[in-house]
Structure formats: C-alpha cells, structure tokens
C-alpha cells in the first residue's frame, strides 16, 4: 500500500519535473522567436521589460528558482534532448527571415567566444583582452588555407584551431610573468599587435582583408545554397545556423566537462586564492596557460566559421573592441555560469541590432552595461552555482 503511494508520488513528481522543463524551454524559445521577429522598438523594449520582470521575480522567489533547477537536474537527459530538438526546429519557426537567422549565427558565434573567455575570466579570473585576436587568428588562418591551398572548410576548421591554440600558448607563457592589471595590459598589447600585423602584412591582404572565401560544402551540398529539409526550404543562412549551433554544443560540452573535473576545480582555486592554491599542489603557471590554450582553441573554431560564413574578413572585424564586447557578455551574463554566459552573448549581440536607434552608441552601451552590472549585480544575470556531487 505505502509502496504504491510512494511510487505514484514519484511518477507524479517526475511528471511535474518533465512539464516544468518543457515549459521553461519552450517558453524561452518562444520568447527568443518573438524577440528576433519584433520590428517595432516598443515591442522590443516591452519584451526586455518582461525578461527583466521574470528575472527579478525568480530572484525574489528562490523556492521557484530552486524548483526549476531541481527539475532540470532530475530530468537532465530530457532537458538536453528537448533543447536539441528546439534548436533543430527553430529555423522553421522564423518565417524564412534571413535577418533573424543572421542574428542567431552571430549570437551563437559570440556565445562560443564568451564561453571560451569564461574559462579564463570566469573560472580562473584571468583578464584576457585577446580573445578577439584569437578569433581573428582562427579566421585568417582558415581563410588563407582555403584561398592559397584550396583546403576545404572541414580541414581548415581544425587546422585554424590548432594555429590559434599555438598563438594562445605563445601569449599565455609570457603573460605568466605578470598578473592582474599588468596581465590585462599584456593581453591588450597582444591584441593590438595582432591587429597591426593583419593590417600591415602583405599576405593577409592588409587593410582590405581577404575576399572570396568559398562557402563550405558537405556531401555535394553547398552552404551558399538554400537548405531543403523534407520539402521545406530554409534560407542558406540555415546551414551556418546549424554549424554554429553545433559549435555552441561542443563548447557547452567542453565547459561542463572541464568545470566538473580536477581542472575546473584548480581554476576556481586559483581564482579564489592563488597562494593557497599553489600550496594544495596546483601548478599555477600550467593551469593558467591551459586556460589561455582552451580559450584560443574555441575562439579559433568560431573564427573559421565566421570567415566562411561572411566570405570576407578584414582586420577591423577583430579589433580590441571585439574582445571588450566578449568580456562584457561574460560579466553581464554571469561569470562561471554556462547558461548565463550564453544568455549574455545573445542579449548583447541582439540588443544593439534590435534597437537600431542606438546602434551608433554601441560602445557606450557596452560600457554602461559593464559599469551597471559591476555596480548593481557583479555576479551577472545568472550567478555561478556550487558544484553538486552525485548522491
């Protein structure tokens, strides 16, 4: 008797958890869709207001937040599968808007960059202002391979990541001689040097950049042509949408696995107290260089996809300001919180685009965002969570 009661309770508990997960994910997707398709700035502001109200409400009602979190951790597999399904179906719901798809691609690439930087800024508290440079190195490396040696996109992708990783290592090693603000200065200098080199070297095309990067092909399907799935035709951007979504998936996987391992713990220890961390046997130099390397590796991937997506790159795509933008995303979204960083990247990519009237003040907007967050909510939209261990 009591056994069956517990069993029923358990099933009803699971059902509630499933519906909470489904509602949250579908609701968020619907919200994103409305936001992407909204044209009137008043609608955009209204949606933002709604978003803010939901966030504040969640903060005020920690039990509700804990309930949602509990549901997601109880039904992790379902949450992941539904999330993947939503990502796959999403382009079909955008009324063939190429602009919405374009925004999504850029937002996803920035999400990858922000996740990459999060390993340093979020996990290990290393202020790296050179993520934009690694992004550029990835883009240029793959574009040069494709243009000069006809290397296909699929080979250029890992090759560019390797090149960017080497540069990350080259940057990481001398940076270890400095710390805090001086470390930030070294990375800024590195970013400027990379930008200047791209601007002045002959084989990178100088300020004109590289033109005519061919679209990738997969099994004879060119990424420049519309994507037809089950009779539905999607704009050609959909190809890159799926590609960048896959990269976001890989980055999330990286983030989750590294966070929940000895390496993530070592980074967090370094963030909290470097001397105490060294006295626990953590090789501070090695783990910091590792953070640089992982950051550059993922940024290199993002750079390649960007280069092949737009087909034209120039040094001005990879300035210091790009690095600052990425940093803003991490700070606003929430340091060391994967979901937060992704939300930060989406929000800060789409907002300036959606509020066109302000687009001239983009940099001002980022500056104000950083200051506002550091003053009002330094932990970001979604603060970091404590680790959980099974059982």
């Amino acid at each position: 008797m009591s056994v069956s009661v517990t069993a029923t309770r358990r099933t009803s508990g699971a059902a509630t958890a499933l519906s909470i997960v489904a509602l949250t994910e579908i609701g968020s997707a619907a919200f994103l869709r409305q936001f992407l398709l909204a044209e009137d700035w008043r609608v955009v502001v209204g949606l933002l207001g709604f978003f803010a109200i939901v966030l504040v409400a969640l903060q005020r009602l920690p039990t509700v937040e804990a309930r949602i979190e509990g549901a997601f951790s109880a039904q992790g597999r379902f949450a992941t599968l539904l999330g993947i399904a939503i990502v796959l179906l999403f382009p079909f719901l955008l009324e063939k808007s190429t602009y919405a798809l374009h925004l999504l691609i850029i937002a996803q690439l920035y999400a990858v960059l922000a996740l990459a930087l999060n390993f340093q800024l979020g996990s290990a508290n290393i202020p790296n202002f050179a993520t934009g440079a690694s992004y550029g190195i990835g883009a240029y490396a793959s574009a040069l391979l494709a243009l000069n040696w006809d290397v296909s996109f699929w080979l250029a992708l890992p090759a560019a990541a390797v090149v960017a990783t080497i540069f990350g290592f080259v940057l990481g090693v001398p940076s270890m001689r400095t710390r805090d603000s001086y470390l930030a200065l070294v990375t800024i200098a590195f970013g400027v040097v990379v930008h200047q080199l791209l601007n002045n070297l002959e084989f990178t095309g100088g300020p004109n950049g590289l033109v005519g990067i061919p679209a990738p092909e997969l099994f004879g399907h060119s990424f420049a042509s519309p994507l037809v799935i089950f009779g539905h035709s999607l704009p050609s951007q959909a190809n890159f949408y799926y590609l960048s979504a896959a990269l976001v998936g890989v980055s999330i996987l990286f983030a989750a696995r590294l966070h929940h391992s000895r390496i993530g713990l070592a980074w967090n220890a370094l963030r909290a107290d470097e001397l105490a961390a060294r006295c626990q046997g953590i090789n501070a130099t090695w783990y910091k260089v590792l953070a640089f390397v992982v950051d550059a590796f993922l940024a290199g991937f993002a750079g390649t996809i960007y280069a092949f997506y737009v087909g034209f790159i120039s040094p001005d795509n990879f300035t210091f300001l790009v690095s600052v933008t990425i940093m803003t995303m991490v700070i606003a979204g929430g340091m060391d919180n994967t979901l937060g960083v992704i939300v930060g990247a989406f929000l800060l990519t789409m907002l300036p685009e959606k509020l066109r009237a302000f687009s001239d003040y983009r940099i001002l907007f980022f500056g104000v965002t950083v200051i506002a967050f550091l003053m009002i909510r330094p932990q970001g939209i979604f603060p970091q969570r404590l680790r959980r261990y099974g059982g």
Partner: protein, 266 residues
C-alpha cells in the same frame, strides 16, 4: 623520542635585500612528533614555514624531507612530496563549497588532464567521485558539524570551522608533515580547547604524522608540543621542552622585555 627524523633544516638563512629575516636556523622534526615554534612577532616563524613549503627560496641552507633536498622546488611540487600547511589568516577558497575545498586538497592525488576531462568523461568523473568520497569521510572524521555543512560556501563558516576546514584540506593531500600556522588565532578559549582536542585526536589517528605548530597561545604551547623551538629576530634562541625553555632568561626577555624579566626574577 627516537623515531627517525623526517624533516630537517640546516643553516637556513633568508635575506630580503639588506634585511636578514632568518639567520642560520637549524631544526629537526621526527616522525609522530609535534614541534612548537614560538617567538615574538616578526621573529621569523612564518618565514620558516614559507621556506619549508617552497614559497620562499632560502638564501642559503637547506631543507630535507626524508633526506631529499627540497629547497629550490616550487611550492606545488613540495605538497606532492608530503608537506601540507594551513595559513595564519585562513585562506580558504571562499566561493567554493566546503566539500570542494577538501577535494582541491586532493589535487596531487588526482591525474585527470585536459584530454581525459574532455574525451574520457567517465574516467574523469570516477576519479572526482572517488575524491569526493574520500573528502566526505575526512570531513566526517574532522568534525561532524563541518560535514553537515559540506554543501555551503566556505566563506559562510564561523571562524572555528574555517580553521578545521583548513586542517581537513591540508590532510586531504595525505601529508607526512603538517604545518599549522597559528591555528588558534582569532579563537576564544572554548574554541582553542576544541582545537586542541581536534589536534590530539588527529595525532591518535595518525601516529606517523609529524607536525609543526606556530603558536602564541601559551596554553596550547604548554600542552601539545613535545618540543619547542624559540625564534627571535630570525635566530634560534632556544630549543627543548616547554618547561625547560620557559625558564631561560633570554626567552623571557624576548617575550616580556628585559625590565619585566628582571622584575619578575627579583
């Protein structure tokens, strides 16, 4: 005490520019022994700990652990050899959970590298789960109350529990030598008593573990250490049992000042 010597320092000298923080200090520490280190502020007690743990490289002299020369090796490697420490002002990883703090203490016993973490998830997870298991057992052994709070951020702990957690974190590396830097600082008498009980329990449980304790609280110094080393102005003033050492006039001078000592003797 005839147990074999585990840690040994000879002729340790530390100069910072023109300042001599430590001059020609020798010490030995045997297995299972507790060595108390006392001396006024600025006597070089923490300097000695920093030299042993590899934070400072001594200007001359050497530190040997079971005969192996340690100085010159980086701090993170010395932990792996079997020397763990706590800090005077507790230096926990405040924004991580109590349990995470202890797991990080097991860093040298874990092997997961970057490729394992990303590509061989089950292996990395198994290793972390094992470390979490050991850490939980360790917390339970150190203090039941601390174990109950294992999922709270370390920064939220009260002072006495922070010191316990530091000790648990240091023990997680399975050290042969444990260095405690003023474990009772900032504690009231009741907390200090509890701390002394903890340390006694620890010694009973790990008879091989050698300890060095820097302390100002004379109640603790009187009862716990087998031997006491007195430092003043970076030099060794005296060494011996607490009862012997406290009668030496120069030690009294260092603590109380010359006048007071003369008055006390008069």
């Amino acid at each position: 005490m005839s147990a074999p010597v585990i840690l040994e320092g000879s002729g340790l000298t530390m100069r910072f520019g023109g300042l001599v923080a430590m001059a020609e200090v020798d010490f030995t520490l045997r297995k299972g022994e507790i060595l108390g280190i006392i001396g006024p502020n600025g006597a070089g007690k923490s300097t000695l700990l920093n030299i042993i743990t590899g934070i400072y490289v001594p200007s001359s002299g050497e530190v040997r652990l079971s005969g192996e020369r340690l100085n010159g090796q980086p701090a993170h490697r010395i932990v792996g050899k079997g020397i763990a420490r706590t800090f005077q002002s507790s230096r926990l990883f405040g924004d991580l959970s109590v349990l995470d703090n202890v797991i990080i203490g097991r860093h040298t016993h874990m092997k997961t590298g970057i490729f394992d973490a990303i590509l061989r998830r089950s292996k990395a997870e198994a290793e972390l789960a094992e470390a979490a298991d050991i850490a939980e057992r360790l917390l339970k052994a150190v203090s039941r109350g601390l174990y109950e709070q294992r999922h709270r951020p370390a920064a939220e702990l009260p002072q006495a529990d922070r010191r316990r957690l530091e000790i648990a974190r240091a023990l997680a590396s399975e050290p042969k030598v444990l260095l405690l830097d003023e474990p009772s600082s900032g504690m009231d008498d009741a907390d200090t008593d509890a701390l002394m009980d903890d340390i006694r329990a620890l010694c009973a449980e790990r008879p091989e573990l050698a300890m060095m304790i820097i302390e100002h609280d004379m109640r603790l110094v009187a009862s716990l250490p087998h031997r006491v080393l007195v430092l003043d102005y970076g030099q060794k003033l005296a060494e011996g049992s607490y009862e012997e050492v406290r009668l030496i006039p120069r030690v009294q001078e260092a603590y109380l000042g010359r006048k007071a000592t003369q008055n006390a003797q008069a």
